[in-house]
């Protein structure tokens, strides 16, 4: 057989194997609900510039006097007369930009450390594992408070601290998987072929560890959404005035007895997005076990 088509067929089969968990998803109702919620918010985030009726930071004096939902402001306005629907949509765009970047950075750093620890074992493993133990023993929320107040809470800093604190968890998972996978025949075959350690880790081991990693990434997206919301609520999250769901609650929950919609709506938004990610994770895990 010619070299090129065989490669092509291999790639096709590899792609099918990657997508198999998605096909299995159809089996579970909860998973479909999760997928629908996540897709809904992704669409809202992508289309925010088209869908939002007002600019997210535009104040409206009239709406500030009568902030309850009306024809002009479908979900009402906040204490400054800013349209809540518009801020919700732009807020989705913000959280769905920051959270995936943070999670992907954590996965890249964590996978690399975990692969190295599991593949080389010995001293590298000891170093990575002890470092992970120490980082994981630190209560993360205290660390976030200290680091973000000292260095300022920009999107970049938030991504950085989330990546640093989540990477050890991913490193542990990948290390465990690597310890199992490194004994497989295809790893031995690659070694016989004289492939480099980097090639074996990235091409032979990592793709075979993808199942648990994808489930974990989905869970991690939910946690990170919570973290970003919590940081916003504590006043050390993504900087104002651009909308951030947690920050929207922080600014308005003191007015709960008068205008409950101002804080209830962003709370419902963030809860639904996290529920979506977690339902999706449950479904992915179940379909992975079914294989």
């Amino acid at each position: 057989m010619d070299e090129a088509p065989r490669r092509g067929a291999q790639r096709g089969r590899a792609l099918a194997a990657w997508l198999a968990p998605l096909a299995n998803l159809a089996g579970s109702g909860a998973t479909l609900v999760g997928l629908a919620i996540v897709l809904f918010w992704v669409a809202a985030a992508l289309l925010a510039p088209l869908l939002a009726p007002y600019p997210p930071n535009a104040t409206d004096v009239l709406a500030a006097a009568h902030p309850t939902p009306s024809a002009a402001h479908l979900l009402g306005a906040d204490q400054l007369g800013r349209d809540i629907l518009s801020r919700l949509l732009w807020g989705a765009r913000r959280v769905l930009t920051v959270a995936p970047i943070a999670v992907l950075s954590a996965v890249m750093v964590g996978s690399f450390l975990g692969l190295a620890a599991g593949y080389y074992r010995g001293f590298v493993d000891l170093l990575v594992s002890r470092l992970a133990d120490i980082l994981l023993s630190f209560p993360v929320i205290i660390l976030y408070m200290i680091v973000l107040t000292l260095f300022g809470s920009s999107a970049f800093n938030i991504i950085l601290v989330v990546a640093i604190t989540k990477a050890p968890i991913i490193a542990r998972i990948v290390r465990g998987l690597t310890l199992q996978l490194r004994e497989r025949e295809y790893v031995a075959a690659a070694k016989m072929r004289g492939e480099s350690a980097l090639y074996i880790m990235l091409v032979e081991i990592l793709p075979n560890a993808r199942g648990p990693l994808i489930v974990d990434m989905c869970l991690r997206m939910g946690y990170t959404t919570i973290i970003i919301g919590v940081l916003g609520f504590l006043g050390i999250g993504l900087p104002p005035p651009d909308p951030d769901w947690g920050g929207m609650v922080k600014d308005t929950y003191g007015m709960m007895s008068v205008w409950p919609h101002m804080s209830l709506i962003p709370c419902a938004a963030i809860s639904s997005l996290v529920i979506g990610f977690n339902l999706l994770a449950i479904g992915l895990r179940e379909s992975a076990f079914r294989d």
Partner: protein, 333 residues
């Protein structure tokens, strides 16, 4: 039953070896505790003292002149090398001098332990609800994997664990504080208000229990499911034992080994993770104190608080490992 008896015999035979293993275990973990405390205290020291804006500036605030800052720097000895100051700082900490809080204008030890006690109360009450409730639900869900009860409990706990604490606080407050007026919206722990302290605790505890329970329930369930798949469970069922007997007599103890560690680790969350709940309900706890200390760049309080929370975290980890060791005789060998 037989399996249990054999494990018991093996345990008696290896009791002496077990004692040695236990000593080694404790020594290893105490070393790790010390190492972690040293590394963390050094990191926090570096973070707070070497970050943009020097210590004297953080003490004096943005409006002090450069001259004032320099005078204070000299007086505090801040012009000396970092390592020298770190060693001095560790010496002070060890002798019990935690410094003075610039935010609250009192010695750190006068405020930190009060706040810890308040958080401890919140944590303890929550813990008393979390443990029995999550055990019950986790076992009920895990004893028949895939049953309707299992699906309902699993999905409910996943949904509850997905709602951020502040959102849960807002939801519950909008019902019980704003609409029904049954409960107070703040828990300042001040007596003499219109609400007794017990009613102030209801909402914060409910939020913590609902948020944390989802996770613990799923861990107990997973452990129970795994045990119910074991061959000795099938043997017990096949020899005609009642389902109740199987669950209570065989599965329960073995299913408790993994979750005990998880449950003990929740203490860690309950001490420092409750900062959000404390902020929602204006509760004068440890987490909110740390948030204020960070926002006001109150260095002495940040450093002492960080060490306390790491200490709690590592000690609960050790307790978790210890519980695992005591419950699972196989590990002792």
């Amino acid at each position: 039953m037989r399996r249990g008896r054999r494990a018991c015999l093996r345990f008696r035979r290896t009791a002496a070896a077990g004692g040695r293993a236990m000593a080694r275990f404790l020594l290893k973990h105490l070393l790790f505790l010390c190492l972690t405390l040293v590394v963390v205290s050094f990191l926090v020291f570096i973070l707070t003292e070497l970050t943009p804006g020097d210590v004297a500036r953080k003490y004096l605030g943005a409006y002090a002149t450069q001259e004032q800052v320099e005078i204070l720097s000299k007086r505090m000895g801040l012009d000396r090398p970092v390592l020298v100051r770190y060693v001095e700082y560790v010496g002070k900490m060890l002798s019990g001098d935690l410094g003075v809080s610039t935010r609250f204008r009192v010695p750190v030890k006068d405020i930190i332990f009060d706040r810890l006690a308040n958080t401890g109360l919140l944590a303890l009450v929550s813990f008393l609800f979390i443990v029995p409730l999550s055990m019950l639900l986790g076992i009920a869900a895990g004893m028949r994997e895939g049953s309707l009860l299992d699906r309902v409990i699993l999905l409910t706990s996943a949904v509850l664990a997905s709602v951020p604490e502040f959102a849960m606080g807002v939801f519950l407050a909008s019902i019980f504080v704003v609409s029904l007026r049954w409960l107070p919206g703040t828990a300042t722990l001040e007596p003499g208000g219109s609400w007794p302290i017990a009613t102030q605790l209801v909402l914060p505890v409910t939020v913590i229990v609902l948020f944390d329970m989802g996770y613990v329930v799923s861990m107990v369930r997973a452990s129970m499911v795994e045990v119910m798949r074991q061959p000795y469970i099938r043997t017990a069922v096949l020899k005609g034992m009642s389902f109740r007997g199987v669950v209570l007599g065989h599965a329960l103890r073995n299913a408790m080994i993994n979750p005990v560690t998880v449950i003990l680790l929740q203490i860690n969350y309950l001490v420092s993770g409750v900062v959000v709940v404390e902020s929602v309900f204006a509760y004068p706890g440890f987490g909110r104190m740390m948030l204020e200390a960070s926002l006001y760049k109150d260095i002495a309080l940040i450093e002492a608080g960080a060490l306390v929370s790491v200490f709690v975290a590592v000690v609960t980890q050790i307790l978790g490992d210890l519980a695992y060791l005591l419950l699972d005789p196989r590990i002792r060998r």
